[in-house]
Symmetry: C2
């Protein structure tokens, strides 16, 4: 009886301690400057009656995807997807053997492809996916994600999302934030898996897009993807895409490359409390190390100007205890 | 003492009855076919375990605005706004006196203007608002809404929203729906007042738009509205706009004109439970009566094909006990 009572007391103490000290919402972030600034910002804007309080409706946070929420090396994963599609569709397109960027795609010439940039990627996507509906396209993407493996890590691409960023997304949402993806990548490519991977629904995804056309065939209406660029959601296109989709200036922006510069610039120039963060890839051992000279995810201006603009520069190597989710 | 006890018993009975019979969520809708179908649909999709249950994330409802959520006669209210802007800016543009659609605007020639349609309206908006930021533009719209009065009803335009539709928006949201506006009108015009009037935040507004450009002047970044059409969110553009912004097919669509036909067609052609509704303006006394021959909000195909497509046709005259909110 005495033992039982003691156990109960221990249990109650444990429960009460758990209440007094809630679990760390960011366990994969080392204690340090970056984590402290994130927590201070979130507390400041969500503290009712505080001088920096922001109403929940205005707590909008925008995240770049490639290199910010998941890896982007040795090439954008959507580019690797497009390459596989080019190979799958090549028998129907003999002319691709001599035509760029298809030639590079079929030959696996990654340098030529990387140099073609977001526009080159979109050219491949347009050519390989024109004629599909968004639903069909998402199915193709999901099927690819099940079978494809990253060349270095030998894991599915959706396992190469960053554990610390997943925690950050959850932490922001737990504090009343609405989280959006604002990516240079294709909007329908992202929507195929963003809800499952990040908890971000299709209506909170902003991205580059090709045109779609409404057609009615035998009485059945459908939207069909067209081989023409609609919008490039990169660099100065990011604030434009944010306005178009979200319609108000977010209070927090998270990126990793100079393609995110204008987004961070616009977001952090607004009135009231603002937060800008750049993830610096300096961890060749656990992920990749690249910045000023990289074809993919080039980061120079952000490193030069970010600190004096008050942006938080995160070192993957020093600030993260873990990069990818544990298997 | 006995009296007190009896009173208490009465009070408790009243409270318990109130719980047993919750207040009608659609008090401005007459009991009848339309209301019964709305309620049956909402119950079916939100009944956990029911055969027509739809997860909350997929409970997306889209609403046309002009003629569906607020009046659109004697002309689209945004057109009336644009006319006032043309007059205000005319001294700086002497060439407008001879140039359409500005000439018609300055002369108050409503027929010529109505005939110029959505594109004519956008031409006026482009010319009168190029150079402003979205924030500045919304301020101009809000200031106009405070002073402008409807020519017939002598009330501010934001008081000419439909009370039964406000109740419907609230009823859907109380049952887990996310409500979006999908309008041929200008997206920034709508965002200036949609949250206050309808409880629909900027990120849930889809509309026509002009291009915006990101510019940095003296270190201050801004988005500036350009005199060029970006997107026309009308007719076959509505499903395209829905895909772009929302990224999934809604399960319910509400409109009033043939400009909404493709939206209703696409929404109601999807699998599972679907709801399409057309508001028929047949109430010349309390509002307006118009359909097949109207320049504004023309409705012919919807009346002809709607019923056999399973769409609910609402008679403003018979189905609504009240049109506008009471003062």
């Amino acid at each position: 009886m005495t033992i039982l009572r003691a156990s109960l007391a221990t249990l109650l103490t444990a429960v009460s301690l758990a209440h007094a000290q809630p679990a760390d919402p960011l366990p994969s972030w080392n204690e340090g400057h970056a984590k402290a600034r994130i927590v201070a910002f979130v507390r400041a804007v969500s503290e009712q009656g505080g001088k920096d309080f922001v109403p929940p409706a205005e707590r909008i946070a925008v995240f770049d995807n490639d290199g910010t929420l998941w890896s982007e090396q040795p090439a954008y994963f959507q580019l690797l997807f497009a390459l596989d599609r080019v190979k799958a569709l090549a028998p129907k397109h003999p002319e691709w053997k001599e035509k760029q960027p298809f030639k590079a795609a079929l030959e696996g010439d990654m340098k030529a492809l990387a140099a073609s940039g977001e526009k080159g990627l979109l050219t491949l996507v347009m050519a390989t996916h024109a004629g599909t509906t968004p639903g069909e396209f998402r199915t193709i993407v999901r099927e690819w994600l099940v079978t494809a493996r990253h060349p270095r890590f030998k894991r599915p691409y959706t396992e190469l999302v960053y554990q610390p960023m997943l925690e950050l997304l959850g932490y922001l949402r737990a504090n009343g934030f609405k989280t959006f993806i604002v990516s240079g990548g294709g909007i329908e490519f992202l929507r195929a898996w963003s809800e499952e991977a990040y908890g971000i629904p299709p209506e909170q995804v902003v991205g580059s897009s090709i045109k779609t056309k409404y057609v009615v065939k035998n009485g059945v209406p459908a939207l069909v993807r067209q081989p023409a660029v609609n919008f490039i959601d990169d660099k100065e296109g990011k604030p434009v895409g944010i306005l178009q989709h979200i319609g108000r200036r977010p209070i927090a922006a998270f990126g990793n490359s100079d393609g995110d510069f204008q987004m961070l610039e616009w977001v952090t120039a607004g009135p009231g409390p603002r937060f800008g963060l750049i993830l610096h890839h300096d961890d060749a051992q656990r992920e990749y190390a690249y910045d000023r000279k990289s074809h993919i995810g080039r980061l120079a201006r952000g490193l030069d100007e970010g600190p004096r603009r008050g942006w938080t520069i995160v070192s993957m190597k020093k600030d993260w205890t873990q990069v990818y989710p544990k298997r």
